[in-house]
């Protein structure tokens, strides 16, 4: 039996502005199994990205719990969350968010360096993953010298270099042209199949969502059970 890698239970995220409370997420519960490729979809402002940020420990829920790899991450301290993100999670952002002062290989091996790997090991890992995303001839380019699609592939390589349990992607194709978008989604599919990588991706493109194993629909901060089957 395939175990759950993510268990979300009664998750709430409330933004308070004085006495006014806005529910960005309300009573959200679901599980994701290890090795699944999940798409989170919904209209703008539905809470997709908020949900992804909670799962990715970039933000803290107001109520409810999240278990990742059996650990209740909602109880972790800030420092523990940082270590957890480094060890077990990988991120791909909509606007790539590469560090402009680092070249491609440095952007990729940074987290391996932070984990304390020896230079020969983290350089080898970074080269290997960059070759897999098709950027072996761009190792020493700076982000500003790459196209959007190439930058996003560097971002994916960075997210994967430490072999994370889960790869989170927040609208990874939103800034890309259709060819680059297809490349990225195909790459995700390939990684999911070849190395059984668990992927949780927010997207608003139904075609991309269809390439995932499952779509979690969300609307107005709650799961849209009319679409979730």
């Amino acid at each position: 039996m395939i175990k759950n890698i993510i268990e979300v239970n009664k998750l709430e995220r409330i933004y308070s502005n004085g006495i006014i409370k806005t529910y960005a997420l309300r009573d959200v519960s679901f599980n994701i199994k290890s090795g699944e490729f999940i798409a989170i979809m919904g209209p703008s402002g539905s809470g997709k990205s908020t949900l992804l940020h909670q799962l990715g420990l970039l933000d803290s829920p107001t109520n409810g719990s999240i278990k990742i790899d059996t650990e209740d991450v909602s109880k972790l301290t800030d420092n523990d969350k940082t270590n957890f993100r480094l060890d077990k999670l990988g991120y791909v952002f909509q606007s790539y968010n590469l560090l402009p002062e680092l070249n491609v290989i440095e952007n990729v091996f940074l987290t391996s360096m932070a984990k304390g790997l020896e230079p020969q090991d983290y350089i080898l890992r970074a080269k290997d993953i960059l070759e897999r995303v098709g950027l072996k001839d761009r190792l020493y380019y700076y982000p500003s010298e790459l196209s959007g699609g190439q930058q996003q592939r560097v971002s994916i390589a960075r997210a994967l270099v430490n072999k994370p349990k889960i790869l989170f992607a927040d609208e990874p194709t939103a800034n890309l042209d259709s060819d680059s978008s297809k490349d990225v989604i195909d790459l995700f599919r390939k990684l999911n199949k070849e190395i059984n990588q668990t992927i949780v991706m927010v997207t608003h493109e139904i075609d991309e969502g269809k390439k995932a194993d499952k779509i979690i629909w969300i609307k107005d901060g709650i799961l849209d059970n009319s679409k979730n089957v």
Binding site: H53, D59, N79, T82, L99, A114, G116
Partner: protein, 399 residues
């Protein structure tokens, strides 16, 4: 914090600096200019103070001055005392002087002036009168009918709009001097001196032999000036002179410069105030520049946190950068300062009191360097700590 954290910290700091060369150069230049603005003015004031003191030492006091004991008007047996003091190892020169006031008469005009009776040979080793001759030449041992006149007594060297009564004398002119015992004698002007010190340039110098012939007293003096190898040795040599059995007053130069000391004290207070304001200004400038730099890196800091880089590493890397800004800026400032100092040594600033060479003590140099480096570290610490403590999403997406 372990070795790998430090390594990563250094790596991030290094990459930030190398990739943002123009920012780095601007900040380093500001640091260097701040260093210069603080130290250069201070060095000029210190140089000026030193020059004031030096002009007093060279013209009026020597490093040590022996004066008659309180109940006496003269130092008796002066010649022997001079010889004994000169035998003390390290003593550079010893010169005795007698002082009086005279009435100068030239072409029916009269003017009172103070006079130093000097031994022209001894004086060469102690004072700077011989180096300050601007017309004619200095007295020789044999010159008993000739005198040297300070520039402040002469019209042609008077500052503009100065209404003090002066003579229009030239080298070779003859003047009558009337001494306070009523004796009058004609002397020829052999030279004119200008040390730049108001306390020296109003004097007339006459061979000491003349005092003995005019006042019929010998082997006495009012003051014995002693030149030492350098400043700071006064206490040591006072003990050595006392060991000779000297009962007269032996005073270091600091106790004999009166008004000048007050003036220099005021200058130093001004110097400290401007130095403090300069430091504050430099600190504010550095803080603002580094603050803007770190604030512009807020997004990068958010990304680093998001991908799992520890807060302490991020903070450390920015503090390291700030340290580098400060350190390299101060080094650059020091290099420029040393070049300027070398330039001013070969081309001193011409000031009314004489040539002034900016003076920068090691203590001031180190203090200013350390304070500026510390200021840059503090300037880097607060904004980067704030950014490192920011919510990740706010830092990345702006909030």
């Amino acid at each position: 914090m372990n070795k790998k954290d430090l390594k990563l910290m250094f790596f991030l700091a290094y990459k930030n600096i190398v990739k943002s060369k123009s920012t780095f150069l601007v900040i380093v230049a500001v640091m260097a200019m701040s260093f210069l603005s603080i130290t250069f003015f201070s060095a000029i004031i210190d140089g000026l103070s030193y020059e004031f003191e030096d002009s007093m030492i060279k013209g009026q006091t020597g490093h040590l001055m022996i004066e008659p004991s309180s109940e006496e008007s003269f130092i008796f047996n002066s010649n022997r005392l001079e010889k004994n003091i000169f035998k003390i190892p390290g003593v550079v020169g010893v010169a005795s002087r007698l002082e009086s006031n005279i009435l100068i008469t030239f072409k029916n005009e009269e003017l009172g002036a103070p006079v130093f009776f000097i031994d022209p040979v001894d004086e060469l080793k102690v004072s700077n009168f011989h180096e300050s001759i601007i017309e004619g030449s200095f007295l020789s041992y044999k010159d008993t009918d000739e005198i040297i006149v300070g520039a402040d007594l002469l019209e042609q060297y008077a500052p503009k709009d100065d209404t003090k009564k002066r003579f229009n004398l030239r080298v070779g002119d003859h003047v009558n001097l009337t001494f306070n015992n009523g004796y009058t004698k004609e002397y020829k002007i052999k030279g004119i001196f200008k040390t730049g010190s108001k306390f020296s340039d109003d004097k007339i110098l006459i061979n000491k032999k003349e005092y003995f012939s005019i006042f019929k007293k010998e082997n006495i003096s009012h003051k014995i000036l002693i030149k030492l190898p350098s400043r700071g040795l006064e206490k040591e040599y006072i003990q050595k002179i006392k060991a000779l059995g000297v009962t007269e007053q032996i005073n270091p130069w600091e106790t004999k410069i009166g008004m000048i000391k007050q003036f220099i004290g005021s200058l130093q207070i001004t110097n400290q105030i401007t130095g403090f304001i300069g430091l504050l200004t430099a600190f504010a400038t550095i803080y603002i520049i580094i603050f803007i730099n770190v604030t512009n890196k807020r997004k990068q800091i958010g990304i680093l946190k998001a991908i799992g880089i520890k807060k302490i590493i991020i903070l450390g890397s920015y503090i390291m950068q700030s340290f580098m800004y400060g350190f390299i800026g101060v080094i650059l400032g020091n290099i420029i300062m040393q070049i300027l100092l070398a330039l001013f040594v070969s081309h001193p600033l011409a000031m009314p009191i004489g040539d002034v060479v900016p003076l920068l003590t090691t203590t001031k140099l180190l203090t200013t360097s350390l304070i500026l480096i510390l200021a840059s570290i503090i300037a880097g610490f607060f904004p980067s700590r704030k950014a490192a403590n920011d919510n990740i999403l706010d830092a990345i997406f702006g909030g």
